[in-house]
Subunit: 309 residues, 2 copies
Amino acid sequence: MINKLTKRIKETGAPVVVGLDPMLQYIPEYILAGAVSEKGESLEAASDAVFEYNKGIIDAICDIVPAVKPQIAMYEQFGIPGLYAFKRTVDYSHSKGLIVIGDVKRGDIGSTSEAYAAAHLGKVRVGTASFKPFDEDFATVNPYLGSDGVKPFIKICEEEKKGLFILVKTSNPSSGEFQDRLIDGKPLYEWVARQVDSWGSSLMGDSYSYIGAVVGATYPETGKILRGIMPKAFILVPGYGAQGGKGKDLAHFFNDDGLGAIVNSSRGIIAAWKQEKYASFGERGYAEAARAAAKDMIEDIQQALESRH
Amino acid sequence: MINKLTKRIKETGAPVVVGLDPMLQYIPEYILAGAVSEKGESLEAASDAVFEYNKGIIDAICDIVPAVKPQIAMYEQFGIPGLYAFKRTVDYSHSKGLIVIGDVKRGDIGSTSEAYAAAHLGKVRVGTASFKPFDEDFATVNPYLGSDGVKPFIKICEEEKKGLFILVKTSNPSSGEFQDRLIDGKPLYEWVARQVDSWGSSLMGDSYSYIGAVVGATYPETGKILRGIMPKAFILVPGYGAQGGKGKDLAHFFNDDGLGAIVNSSRGIIAAWKQEKYASFGERGYAEAARAAAKDMIEDIQQALESRH
């Protein structure tokens, strides 16, 4: 899967992933009203509206970006029907040729991480039959529990040829509270990064490892250091756009081959129709607005990569 | 909810929570076969079998313990149908008067943690209606992202009078890999514990805070130190029994009032019928075996608490 991701990034020229994190306030009123007229004010209506909205965006961006990243919390908040919309979003994205990064940030003790890994990247057996419950291509993982919480995910990645992005330095303002604390003179995130490099070294694709990292766009200087510590890890970079990250901040997250990072934008793309810049698309043009915003983001990042030479 | 937990622990004399972490291999063959005969070899059959099995255990232990702790990964591995079994388990536990600790170990950036908090402890609005998606009483939370990942959970706890157990020192063998690293001379878990104490200080029940901590039974010396750092935090203690923790290791997790900790056992109770000690119950007596194992565990802990005086 890491080879496929690399290939699709080269083909599209877009080291960009669209975060499908639908909040109800991003969804045009007519979509929610349509779902409510069918199913009443219910979690089922919210689920239908979320999927309908995602479908429009997926159709509009599937030829210009390699991947989408649904954030499962935004689905889990609508209970079982919401998780059904998550599953439909994963499946529909696959049908359109997109790689799916499940932003699930799971992580637990060994036997429990095994279950999460099966849920999101692997399969489960019931009697003689086997099933792929959610079937994303990559998942994000929280490292706080250490190696035995991460290794069950790595094992499934090896079996299924899938991948991980492990939280190293997150994009939020208080990420430094624990992640930046110095241990033997180096911040915790560097120690986690060393482990990511080590976990990934035995699970290499053609040029990058199956095991990547999450490093926030909001900390560009940190990105530069972490790029050096994990030369073979793909870095998933959240925090572009709405959270404050800009193209020029991102050049250091990439290797000299122009690869090694994939930048996420969620709100900035999926809710573009609500921004003044894209308001002319109107609510019925929300998907085209998302496409325009994705194109602008791709251009911003391409320029940043070119201007560093 | 922390007051209710304290009250129920006093009433039952059992600072014990039963971990409802059903793996298919724990479930008696006749239960799975029954579900498969109705729904074929499917995720739906696994879901029915899991719930049926849980129901038997809940019926057998609901009068002797205050709480259950379903581990969501064990349900998530069966996809949407599995999560439906999770929801049915939460609801059925409530109908039997049990407090439910959702072992979900969620944690993300602020807006995303908000969605997780709504999913598990709060409510969501769809139009003019509101819904409680999973509706546990407590949830476990991963602190790696720092305060702004935790505070949305705290806010919902205040609104809904619910509670948290924040991962401080986990029970698994490699928990020390990051959690034990020294920062200014103290291990990371102590810094997290200080934050738990501070987050919890503004959200007090009658004698304990709404905001508790997870500290593994497998690290009793650490438990003693952390008890001192977080005097008002209830400590959820996993790792008893199958993971190696024993009653005598647990005394230091409690305060002098005999409260302040609740010890979890999963496998050791729910799969007791598979142990030699309880084998005479047979597979059809799996629920009675669980009751017997829960009683033995309660006695072990009561003795440990008495013998410390």
